[in-house]
Amino acid sequence: MRVAVVGVGYSGFNANTPDLSWKELMFEAAVRAYEDAGINPRRDVDSFITCAEDIWEGFAIFDEFVPDQLGAVLKPTCTICGDFIYGLATAYMHIKSGLADIAVVEAHSKASDILTFGGAIKFAMDPVWLRQIGNAHPYYFAALEMSQYVNECCIDEEQVASVVVKNKNNARLNPSAPYSGRIGVEDVLNSPMVFDPLRKIEIAPRADGAIVFVLASDEIAKELTDLPVWLKGVGWWSETSNYDTMSFNALYAAKAAKMAYKMAGITNAAKEIDFAEVDDRFAFKEIQHIEALELSKRFETATLMAEGYFDRSGEIPVNVSGGNLGIGNLLEATGGQKSLEVVLQLRGQAGKRQLSKAETGVAQAWRYIPTASGAVAVFGV
């Protein structure tokens, strides 16, 4: 039995959303997804999954606030504490295990409601070993990782800058990318070095938005749509619990990709994958994640990046949506934005940013600092 994406809906993405509450964001995205799939959630859906973390939401038990705006009252509904792609994995398992024929996955970000973003991240650190270290913003952990990584792989500033240039320019074709820009490498190099070697412009600013997917088993998918996008493989992996013990080379993404590729029957990712959407919430992370996804070899990726190999017109376009650097940090909805772009590209509905060759795409997301966990999904038509 195969699993297909039969409907997608999203709301946003914006730097802030004073006109909508998080509930309204969820509702807007859900209604669009149900219309897209042609289903009535109260009657047809067997399982609803929301991806959320309590402290991002500002509640003690966020699960309570999920059902009403999704049409999920008195239905099997649950929360997964993870990225949207973890939710996709859960829906995949629900369909494969016969618990559901139609499953709905939702994730959202109302990052503009968070007053103390750095403080919230600090609460994710081990209270004994890490939380007490200094008073700096937790971004310095990313800077430490970047420092180690760029030295190990001999990556220079211009190469990291080329990630920002590519993504911000890609975002100019995306109507829902609030942080797009026509910039060059020198603009990036003029950006202040806020956490040496991390520049301000290399950190994705936060954004609001919600994404809802409707997934179905192949039998139902054929009844519902002429354009099913198959969820061919999904993988998730956790390396270790905190920054003090992790490998600093995105092992979580490599292992998750291995799992997803195995499920999808992909043996040579660089040849079989047409395009990718990877987590680029820090510019260097995109290079790291491309390597982990085996789209290019280690020590070569940064050079290829600067040469335009991952551009819109390149060999393997990466983050044609604009990525997080163009759209913003969507917290647990990050994987949702990635998956959404892959599905739109595969359906041929990506508008001005439509790629000419899009048959197999991969979406990847990381659970952000200070974790070493992440997930990968492979989609195909």
Binding site: G38, N40, R43, D44, D46, F48, E53, D54, I55, W56, F59, A60, I61, F62, D63, E64, F65, V66, P67, D68, A72, V73, L74, K75, P76, T77, C78, T79, I80, C81, G82, A89, T90, M93, H94, I95, K96, S97, G98, L99, I102, A120, K122, F123, A124, D126, P127, I220, E223, L224, W236, W237, S238, T240, S241, T245, K255, R367, P370, S373
Partner: protein, 402 residues
Amino acid sequence: MIMEVEKIKGLKFAKKQDVAIVGAGMTTWKRRLNETGKELSYIAVKQALEEAGLTIDDVEMVVMGSAPDTFDGLHMKGEYLLDGSGGSDRPYMRVFVGGGTGVFAPIAGYWHVASGLADVCLVVCEEKMSSCYPHPQSGFKYIWDPILDRPLNPNLIWIFALEMRRYMHVNNIKHEDIALVSVKNKANALDHPCAQVAEKITVEDVLNSEPMALPVRRLDVSPPSDGAAALIMVAPHIARQLTDEPVWVDGVGWALDTTMWYNRDLYFPRYVAEAAKMAYKMAHITDPRKEIDVAEPYDPFDYKELHHMEGLGLARKGEAPILTREGVTARDGDLPTCPSGGLLGVGNPIAATMGVKACELYWQLAYRAGKRQVAKEVTTGVCQAWGDLMQVGTVMVMSNKR
């Protein structure tokens, strides 16, 4: 234009493979334990692996269940508990439905195995409520709707007092009848080595205990606890290698009701009834009262055991107190209910209550419950948990027959 699907498909249950339980473990439950959450998880996992005859290297995937992050003051608590629970270097996912997580985490373990993605799945539940200072109730300040509820400055005890009052009023039940549940469970817990508040008490003790929010009194309520529990779920071909008598998961179900708890009639838990319907349908159970031999309904308050028995269809509406009074729910009765001692006797570490729900049911059906083993012969049992704003029901049916 919306294209409508004509037929309602319902649940098909064409699962990839069956799911068996082969091992369980739990730590002692106390108001304050010196161990960190990671250490508690480690202890429970070690016990479960030993019982199953496996090592951590055999585990393919890990499911974590832990309730509010506010208790520990940790953001992304699942990530923090990762290495203690054996989640390092493998797929690891945390599921969360508030208090219902105690039975929801094994349900998540079920779909990891039933979908064919994992052959050996470890389910770990951990809760450390004592880190929340001065009392875990202060963590519950942030579970309310910020506009409609929070200005009233509510706390959990008094919304449960509303629910208890409504249940008593509609079914014409006296507090004496409800107190019998507390008496039974606290006495059952005397045989549980992990129990926190086991004692021999009488109905008078309950009725004379300190009022919390009337009609709820001190001995009607389970205590806050620290603790952890673990469960090993495997595919049939692994189960056959490990044991001759595995316990099988026959059915799972869960349902979440509206956030607006004040819009519901609180006398009957519809969310439990819906979840039970799903689980029974899957397990081919049509008359639960006859077909279920042993039950572990969620009992954080004494009236809740009765409330949930009615939701699970083990008693008609208003009948559960009568069954209790007649001794049907005693350990040597016809329908032993909470033979572990439940939350009232053993303790209430929110998600880790898996230890007295799913784990206990497994031990009962595997005949491994020692002094707590029920008198009658058992083949099928049900466990259930409940949580959020009196809102979620999670149900699992197990059986030792295949």
